[in-house]
Structure formats: C-alpha cells, structure tokens
C-alpha cells in the first residue's frame, strides 16, 4: 500500500502525537477466540454425528453466501436480488464438468467459481446500465434468463434436472485417504470433506473481506458509499471497484453453489436458481444480523438457523414471519441485531474503521461539537 495514506500515517507517527489504529483490545482477544473456534469446528467430523456435520455445512454455506451478498450490497451498494444466478451457474458447472467431462469434483469446484465469475462479466455489462433500484430487478431478470437457458440443456436433464452419478463422488480425490487415515466410511468421508471445504471457504471469504475492507480499496469503497461524486473527485475509480467486487462475489457464490450441489447430488434449474433459497434467505440473514458489518451475517446466520429449526415446519407462515421480521428490522433497527449490540457495548469484532488515538490532549478535554 504505497499511497498518500501511508505517508500521512508516517507523518503522524513521526510527531509522536497521533496514531491511526484499526485494532481494538477486544478484536485482539476475539481473533484468538475465532482461531480456537475454527480449530474446534475443523475437528467436528471426528466428534459429532453426521446430522450435526450436515447442519454445520448448511450454516457455513449460508454464511458464505451472506458474507458475499453483504459485501456486494452493504459495502459496494450493489443491491442484487439475482445472486441465485451464480449459485445456479456454479452448480451446473460442477455437474457439467463432473458428468460430461469427467473432472474430479474437488477440481471442478474452483473451476465452477471461475465459470460463475465469467458469467458475471456479461451480467455486469447489462445490469450496470441500470440505475440504482432497477439494478436489483435487472439482476433478477438475468438470473431468470440463466434458469431458462439451462432448462434447455438436455444433456443435464433439461427442465427436470439430473443426479450426480454415485461413482463420480465415490472416487473423489481425498476420499480414500480419509478412509485409510481415519477409518471413515465413504458416505461419512464425503460429508466430512464437503464440510471441510465449506469451512475453508467460509474462513477464506471472511478473511478476504476483512483484509479488503481494511485496505485502501476498503477506504475507497466506504468513500463511494458515503458520497460517490466526492470519492470520484478524489480519484477513486468507483466503477472499477464495484465491478471487481461484483466479479469476486460471483466467484465465491459460484463455488458455494458447486459445493452445495455436490452435497445435494441432485440438481434442477428451479432449485438451483431459486430466488427464495439463494437470495431471499441470504438477504434476510444479512438484514436481520446487520447489513454493512462482518459480524452481522455471522449473527444473522445463527438466528436464521435457530428459526429454521424451530419453525420451518410451519411452511409459508414461517417464510411470512421471516419477511415481516426483515421489514421490522429494516424500519426500526436498520443496523440489525449486531447494530443494536455494538451501539450498546461499542464492540467491534472485525474493526475496519480507522481510529485516531493518542495526541497531545486527551479526548475528555476537547471541546467543540466533535469533542
């Protein structure tokens, strides 16, 4: 990061007066706790039942989808309701690569992500032409186009879809090793492998977003969000930044899509391009947890999972209540649950704000409206 920002920091440090910090005492403690949690979660397949591993897999994949939608909508201001396009494209890419080209599923997952990112290029070309709110519906239309086109792909079952052949997943890379080392049965080993991939993807996504937001690009993004004209005047290339984030989220979403459907082993255009499953739920997770924060989706996915377990048997009533909850949150607590918590406690687990510390006078003695 060789920008003016760095030299400014150096100047300030040189005087020994002010420091710019992006770390808090709490975030230091939290990062240690987070590492411990990830290690514990990595050990889960050895300790808990397959059902729990599958639940955790669901939580992790939804978390990754939520984090990438949050980056898109909460930070880059690109409110897409068409992310199911990338889930669907990723999933279909996996099925196509495995069934038609005989690629190993493990290798097909990153390729599926790349393919989704490739699809995102023309998608961005079209949808970026639409003003603010119309962008949302534009992405939705393109997702519909994707669904309708893939329903024409007869080799993968057309409108009714198809299943992943059993031997394709049975011979997956790493499965026999898991069986040899830990004595896992093939089905359990497949679950564990998918789970570890989901865990790795979730951790990588959160780390990437965290690093991105703390970088100068993150600063540029915040500037664009607050005032796009002013940010552009200061040399932030808003369009390039937004396009890059759009492609990045497509890549991540595509990989998650591939992973989810590797686990499901059965695909149909309506399911893979489902607005409810891959966008509505994700939007609710982010809104209820707190949009525009990294902590929000983490909290949101836990709330969502709890609600899902408790009430999903009520079917439509459950969805209705979830929608109503999102509306109420947006109206009365637009920062979501995490916003309520952090406002009361001042906690920041993933600090991305730059804090000014030190200086000749303490903050208590400063006057003025900002004192």
């Amino acid at each position: 990061m060789t920008t003016g920002f760095n030299t400014m920091t150096d100047d300030i440090n040189a005087k020994g007066a002010w420091r710019i910090e992006t770390r808090t005492k709490l975030s230091g403690l939290f990062s240690i706790a987070a590492i411990a949690v990830v290690v514990l979660m990595a050990a889960a397949p050895f300790a808990v039942s397959r059902g729990v591993v599958q639940d955790l897999f669901f939580i992790l994949t939804m978390l990754t989808l939520a984090q990438s939608w949050n980056l898109l909508a909460g930070y880059a201001g690109l409110i897409s309701v068409g992310q199911q396009l990338f889930v669907g494209c990723g999933a279909y890419a996996l099925f196509g690569l495995v069934i038609l080209a005989g690629v190993d599923p493990l290798i097909a997952i990153p390729l599926a992500g790349l393919l989704a990112a490739l699809v995102a290029i023309p998608t961005a070309f079209f949808s970026f032409r639409l003003y603010g709110p119309y962008f949302a519906i534009g992405t939705w239309v393109i997702a519909e186009v994707g669904r309708l086109l893939l329903a024409q792909w007869k080799a993968l079952g057309g409108g009714t879809g198809t299943s992943l052949p059993r031997d394709a997943t049975r011979d997956m890379l790493g499965l026999s090793a898991l069986g040899d080392w830990f004595g896992m049965r093939p089905a359990a080993a497949a679950d564990a492998l998918a789970y570890w991939l989901a865990l790795a993807l979730a951790v990588a996504t959160i780390t990437l977003i965290y690093k991105l937001l703390r970088s100068k690009h993150g600063l540029g993004l915040a500037a664009v969000r607050d005032n796009e004209t002013a940010a552009r005047a200061l040399g932030v290339d808003a369009l390039r930044l937004k396009s890059a984030i759009y492609l990045l989220t497509a890549f991540v979403t595509g990989m998650v899509g591939a992973l989810i459907y590797l686990q499901k082993a059965r695909i149909s255009p309506d399911a893979a391009f489902s607005l409810t499953d891959w966008t509505a739920y994700v939007v609710f997770i982010v809104v209820i947890g707190g949009i525009g924060t990294i902590e929000g989706p983490l909290l949101g996915v836990l709330v969502f999972f709890a609600l899902q377990n408790a009430f999903s048997s009520y079917g439509s009533w459950y969805l209705l209540a979830l929608g109503a909850l999102a509306i109420v949150t947006m109206l009365f607590a637009p920062q979501g649950l995490w916003g309520l918590i952090s406002r009361r406690t001042g906690w920041e687990l993933f600090p991305v704000r730059r804090l000014l510390k030190g200086g000749p006078a303490s903050f208590d003695t400063m006057g003025g409206p900002n004192g």
Partner: protein, 287 residues
C-alpha cells in the same frame, strides 16, 4: 396470415404488460420507489376479485369496480404507514422492505388460498372473438388493450391537467420546494400509490380472466412490468405501452417458434434494448 395473427396476439398481450407496468412507472416517477412487491400486489388484487366474484356471485367487471377502492385504501395505508418511512437518499431500505413485503404477500396468499392455480371466469366473453381484417381477435385481449390505452390516457390527463397532477409533478421534481408551497409529500405519495393500486386492480382483472394464476405468479408479473418500463424508457407512459407491446410481440413470436422459448425471447428482447438503447426507446426522465 399466421404471422400477422401472431403479431396481433403479441400486440394485444402487450396491453396486459403495459397495465402491469403503468402502476410501477407511476410510483417510480413520483417518488423514485421501485416496489419489488408490485407483482405480488397484482396477484393479491386478482385474488380479491376472485373472492368477490365467488362470494357475492358478481360479474368480474363489477367485482373489479368494488375491488378498486379497496386496493386504493390498501395502497394508501401501505405507502403512508410503511413505505414513506423508507424513502430517503439511501436506496437500500425501500428495496429491502418491498422485497420482504413480496415474500409476506406471497406466503400470506399461499396460506389463505392454497397453491392451487385459479381463474376468474367471464362466461361467454371468454371465447368471444371478432374478425379484424380477416384475423380472429379475442374480445378479452382487445378489451385488455383498450383498457391499457384508456388507463394511460386517463393518467396523462390526471398528471398534466389537474391540480393533483401538478402536485405529483412538483413533488417529483423537488420535494423540499413542494413542501414549501403547502404540499404534503407524504399524502401525495400515499395517493399516488393508492392510484397505482387501482391500476393494479385493472391489471389483475385481466390477469385473472385471461389465464390461470397462483400465489407465486407475482414475481414474473413484476419482471414483465419492469421490462416494459425499461424498454419504453423511464418516465414516459406511452413508452411503457410501446415497451409492453414489444415484450408481448417478442414473447408470442418466440412461442410460435418453440413454446419453451416464450418467456426467454421476451427477456432477450429486453436485453437487446438494454444493449442498444440503454435508456430505453422513448426516454423522458433524466434518471
């Protein structure tokens, strides 16, 4: 001759899409609000008409006349108490609230009316047709198109000839100055959404009598409405009609080649317009 027939069916279908779109266009023009629940509100109105028809045994057209003021009231309340709170510089709250609303309405309808697809019967009118230059044209599609034209003429009269229309335009141009002139934007917005819901009722009447509908048909109606608005260009109601017609023709032509391509060819026409004329064919508004 069959090509001419396809073309006519497409044009008439376009009338229905223009009806879907007019309400969306009105609301966007006045308060820059994109209502993601628009399609679900159309379906809600269709169920309301169905309910009136089946319980009171009335003709669908009379039922729509009863439903229209009810829908106006619903739109007014919705805007005044819910959507007005979300308006502002940030586009996120209105989008997410109307998205939530869309899910709420869909699932509310599912619980109330089940997932079965329904239809409002218009009796003999359903199959009635007249000869137009040697082509058979259904009376209902013709009526749909005529209604679309009537709605657009009426809206244009309202917007450019009445005091209320002046208030609409003033609020659309500059909320702060309009407020200084004694206009209360919150009520103006509520009236506008109420009006949009009356148009939605007209659209619902023809949606319900033309084909089957079920609680989940809302989102695709929203998409057609949106495509018609964008093809026509923002801010022009006649453009919206033209957009609806182009969409309708693209769909019927696509369907005549392969029935599976109907919806897809509509989307492709939309993307082509977006590619060649990103501001639509007859743009009027600056944004």
């Amino acid at each position: 001759m069959s090509w001419l027939d396809t073309l006519l069916q497409g044009v008439l279908l376009g009338g229905l899409y223009a009806l879907f779109a007019a309400g969306l266009s009105l609301v966007f023009g006045i308060m820059r609000l994109v209502n993601l629940a628009h399609g679900d509100l159309i379906v809600l109105a269709a169920f309301l008409i169905l309910l009136i028809v089946s319980t009171l045994g009335l003709d669908p057209f009379v039922a729509a006349v009863i439903a229209a003021p009810l829908m106006f009231g619903l739109g007014w309340l919705l805007q005044y108490h819910l959507l007005n709170r979300t308006l502002g510089k940030d586009i996120l709250p209105p989008l997410l609230v109307t998205f939530g609303l869309s899910i709420v309405i869909q699932n509310g309808l599912l619980e109330t009316f089940t997932a079965d697809s329904k239809r409002v019967s218009t009796g003999a009118l359903e199959t009635a047709s007249i000869q137009l230059a040697g082509i058979n044209a259904g009376l209902m599609p013709l009526l749909t198109f005529a209604s679309a034209v009537a709605v657009i003429v009426a809206l244009n009269q309202l917007i450019y000839r009445t005091a209320l229309g002046r208030a609409f335009r003033a609020t659309s141009d500059d909320v702060v100055t309009a407020r200084l002139m004694g206009i209360r934007p919150n009520s103006i917005f509520a009236i506008a959404t109420g009006l949009a819901m009356m148009i939605v009722t007209v659209a619902a009447l023809y949606l319900g009598t033309r084909a089957n509908f079920d609680p989940t048909s809302g989102p695709s109606r929203l998409i057609y409405a949106f495509e018609a608005v964008i093809i026509g260009g923002l801010g022009s109601l006649w453009g919206t009609l033209a957009g609806g017609v182009i969409l309708g023709v693209a769909q019927t032509v696509g369907a005549s080649i392969n029935p599976e391509w109907q919806i897809l060819s509509g989307h492709i026409a939309f993307l082509l317009v977006l590619l060649l004329r990103p501001r639509g064919l007859f743009p009027r508004a600056v944004d």
